[in-house]
Amino acid sequence: MIKFENVNKYFDQHKALKSLSFELPEHETTVIVGPSGSGKSTLLRSFNLLEQPEEGLYSLDDKVIDFAQPISEKTILEVRRQTGMVFQDYNLFPHLTVLKNVMEGPLHVLKEQKLIAAQRAEELLELVGLSDRANYYPNQLSGGQQQRVAIARAMAMNPKYLLFDEPTSALDPELEAEVLKVLLKLDVEKNSMVIVTHNMAFAKAVASNIIFLEEGNILFNGSPDEFFNHPTERIQKFLSAMTFEDILPK
């Protein structure tokens, strides 16, 4: 369970997250949507403490963090052990092969044995459909392939939560489909997922819960059915902008 209570995040004078409170249950897929600059990424990055809000309480399962206090290195590492993250621009390690990218965490963070780590990495590459690219370098892959490696890399740590920060927004539609196909294969029983995305069709298909964020406020937190079929006026406007309904000739 991921739980925020009255969390505030500032960037200098700008308030990026405004007193947010919510709870994301385990074994579900939460999709965070909203216009650019609404704080979606900041919120997601707070879950693994890449961003550290200044105020509020954060509970990750039985661990409670008070953002107003300095967070110890130990706590930060524990939280990151529980959460895997996939970035918009992949951020694979360019100097390591695909297989070694996936093995890096298990080998040098979990201190697993090389053979075990390699075997698990191969299984994960199979899952994302890249077994034949194990010895390639990231620069030799397409964006879609790189992002699938990044998913395998995040999963190699067996995190309880998988965080996706606009995983397909740097990809063209065909490559996007490749990545979404992999995401659909993931099992929420093993990894609860939080996904920031602009792809509404995908959100509709995978979400068990949708959060709509605007200017650091949560305007909606509920079921996809309610979000798409009974939207408020603001959400309706957002949704039709997404499909260019307003501007395209009928």
Binding site: L50, F87, N91, L92, N139
Partner: protein, 233 residues
Amino acid sequence: MKLVMDSLPAILEAGLRYTIPLSVISFIIGIIIAVITALVRISNVKKGSTFTRLLKIIGKAFFSFYVWLFRGTPLIVQMFILFYGLPRLPAPYTVEFGAFSAAVIVFSLNVGAYASETIRAAILSISKGQWEAGYAIGMTHTTVLFRVILPQAARVSLPPLSNSFIGLIKDTSLAFSITIVEMFSVGQQIAARTYEPMVLYCEVAVVYLVFCSILNVGQYYLEKRTSRYIKNT
């Protein structure tokens, strides 16, 4: 031609005995100093306990002062201060070095000051996303630094560091001024004896060229090796 052949063994011997060891030893020590200096200077003073933050601020000031001092004064002046100046300090403060040690100390500190800026820039050139990707899989700051950032920074800093190494090989000729009989001073002695300065100094120049060319070849292969993962190289 006979003169060249006759003088070559003496010049080469001086090269193998002084020029090369001086360059290699000073460069290795210099790089270690440079990495430490660069890491201290890029450390984040906003992070850590009050004590570590204080330590970082003092460290930063110290290493910035060191870089400023050694980049801002001529190499030969540094050498003279260390070799001729320090032994003449009043009694309890007298420090004496052998000529070779004095040269190694000065060359190391000098290379370290310049190379630290190269390495600092190389580390800063690696994108923030690489740090975050390391953190996201649970790495500590140190692990990210050694497993992710430094291997990539090494590739970036290779050409400018080769520059420093080549510069150092040539700068070792200044060691003649603190009594070290390296290649250049051997050439000078023979030139004085034979009245053939043109021949001897050109010969010395060619030997320096050969040494630096060997280094160029080394740089080429190292670059190839460390750039395997980059497209189109």
